[in-house]
């Protein structure tokens, strides 16, 4: 995302005109630990989907999937998973 220079902001001020553009702000780069799902153990109980505070886990009707563009690595999904099939792995640069 290209950030505007001050000259582009004189007329409008601090106003966002396009609704819902928070999606463009990828918060995934805050992550230091990465949740990884072991699908062989996953029971599709949807606890992780329900608990993720960033709505970074989606469910397509078959299986849950983590969107790493927005997962900030808080580990709540791993803590809540009843069968402990999510592991938090340290991100490597």
């Amino acid at each position: 995302m290209k950030l505007p220079g001050w000259k582009e902001l004189v007329e409008i001020g601090p106003i966002i005109l396009e609704p819902g553009n928070a999606r463009e702000y990828k918060t995934g780069d805050w992550r230091t630990f990465r949740p990884e799902i072991d699908y062989s153990k996953c029971t599709t109980c949807l606890f992780c989907w329900l608990f993720c505070p960033d709505s970074a886990i989606s469910f397509d009707g078959k299986r849950v999937e983590i969107n790493y563009d927005y997962c900030k690595g808080c580990g709540i999904c791993a803590a809540e998973c009843p069968v402990k099939c999510i592991t938090m792995k340290e991100e490597e640069k």
Partner: protein
């Protein structure tokens, strides 16, 4: 076109309320405080009598007053309020939000000292404290100017190039409670001059949902602040234009500053608000004796009209700068700081003498002003300014 206007005798505060009534804003949210109480009191009478269409919000504090004004203005309403002193101080954080969100709120401030000790009388401590808050600040010398400045403030604030809040200041008690003759404009004329307000952005515009004032951290906040600083600096030509247009309608022209016998003056006093009337008297008297003295009145303090001020002062020998507020721990008042640092780089500049006067409503008389002009001549011989001089204080 020469129009004749009705003349009435009226107090400063009531003239402000009358101007509010003629503007007929969508929303007024206010909490009364001495010495500006009558603005709100009188206006609420107009509301009760059905003489305005305004939604009047009697809030529980000035912080809430400014918050309600911000909400209403963001929603797209034409919004006005009034306060003074501690009330302005309580609005502090909201003042910054109003200006940073570029909301064209108009507020009158009957300038008054700040506690402690408790004092309800006039000085400029309140608005000078708010000088960095991003509001346009206009200072009124007399009752007519309060009235005239309010209409101009509406135009300036709402100008699409500006979109900033404007504070119309006048001296607490000295002007707020003085009964003077006022030339009243016709409602029609006022309506034509201020026009209908069409907000550029409005939170109630449901077809165009928007977010105002979102989070902007180290990657964006700086750009927004520079843009805001640029916007207020850019309002200078608009303020001048509006002052000219107002003059064309009424015969009373307004500018950023007012030069009174400064062109050939060797000694100039710089002042703001009601004190300018006192200085003008003395200038007239001394001019009759052939002394080359003048007055520079600062009408617009924010944005600071440095170029105009420099041009008006640069050929003088000694300039006395009269501040009606004090900065404990500094070597002068705020007006001195701005003028002197702004003119520092000029090759030819006068000697500047700092003065502080009139705190807590202490009188400033023609004798005091004469004495200042005498001191300016002594300072010329000395070749440099003296330390800050306090006018009329007991030692």
């Amino acid at each position: 076109m020469k129009t004749t206007f009705k003349k009435i005798a009226i107090e400063g505060n009531e003239a402000a309320a009358l101007a509010f009534k003629q503007v007929n804003p969508d929303v007024v949210a206010a909490y009364p405080i001495t010495p500006s109480t009558e603005v709100v009191q009188k206006f609420s009478e107009y509301v009760a009598n059905g003489e305005v269409d305004t939604e009047f919000v009697p809030v529980e504090s000035e912080h809430s007053a400014m918050s309600a004004c911000i909400g209403a203005s963001a929603a797209g309403a034409r919004v006005m309020t009034s306060t003074a002193s501690q009330g302005l101080a309580l609005m502090w954080e909201m003042l910054y939000i109003a200006s940073s969100l570029r909301l064209p709120i108009v507020m009158t401030v009957a300038n008054r000292a700040l506690s402690a000790p408790i004092n309800i009388h006039g000085d400029h401590s309140d608005s000078m404290g708010a000088r960095d808050s991003g509001w346009i600040q206009i200072y009124s010398e007399n009752v007519q100017e309060i009235y005239d400045n309010i209409f101009q403030a509406v135009r300036i604030a709402e100008d699409p190039q500006v979109r900033l809040p404007v504070m119309v200041n006048f001296d607490g008690f000295i002007t707020s409670h003085s009964e003077e003759i006022l030339e009243v404009l016709d409602d029609d004329l006022v309506r034509r001059f201020i026009g209908e307000y069409k907000p550029k952005y409005s939170l109630l515009d449901v077809d165009h949902p928007m977010t105002m004032g979102p989070l902007a951290l180290f990657d964006s906040y700086f750009e927004f602040k520079v843009a805001q600083a640029y916007a207020i600096a850019n309002s200078l030509p608009v303020i001048k234009k509006v002052g000219r247009e107002f003059g064309d309608l009424t015969g009373r022209y307004y500018d950023l500053i007012e030069k009174y016998h400064t062109d050939d003056a060797e000694y100039i006093i710089v002042a703001m608000s009601s004190t300018c009337g006192t200085v003008r008297e003395v200038v007239d008297e001394l001019r009759e004796k052939g002394e080359k003295v003048g007055l520079l009145k600062i009408r617009v303090f924010r944005p600071f009209p440095l170029e105009e001020i420099s041009n008006a002062l640069k050929n003088a020998k000694v300039v006395g700068i009269l501040d009606r507020s004090i900065i404990p721990g500094s070597f002068s008042g705020p007006l001195y700081h701005e003028i002197v640092s702004g003119m520092y780089h000029l090759d030819k500049r006068p000697i500047f003498q700092p003065y502080v006067y009139g705190l807590g409503g202490r009188d400033i008389t023609t004798e005091h002003i004469k004495n200042v002009f005498t001191q300016l001549q002594e300072i010329e011989k000395l070749g440099r300014p003296k330390n800050l001089i306090y006018i009329g204080v007991r030692e």
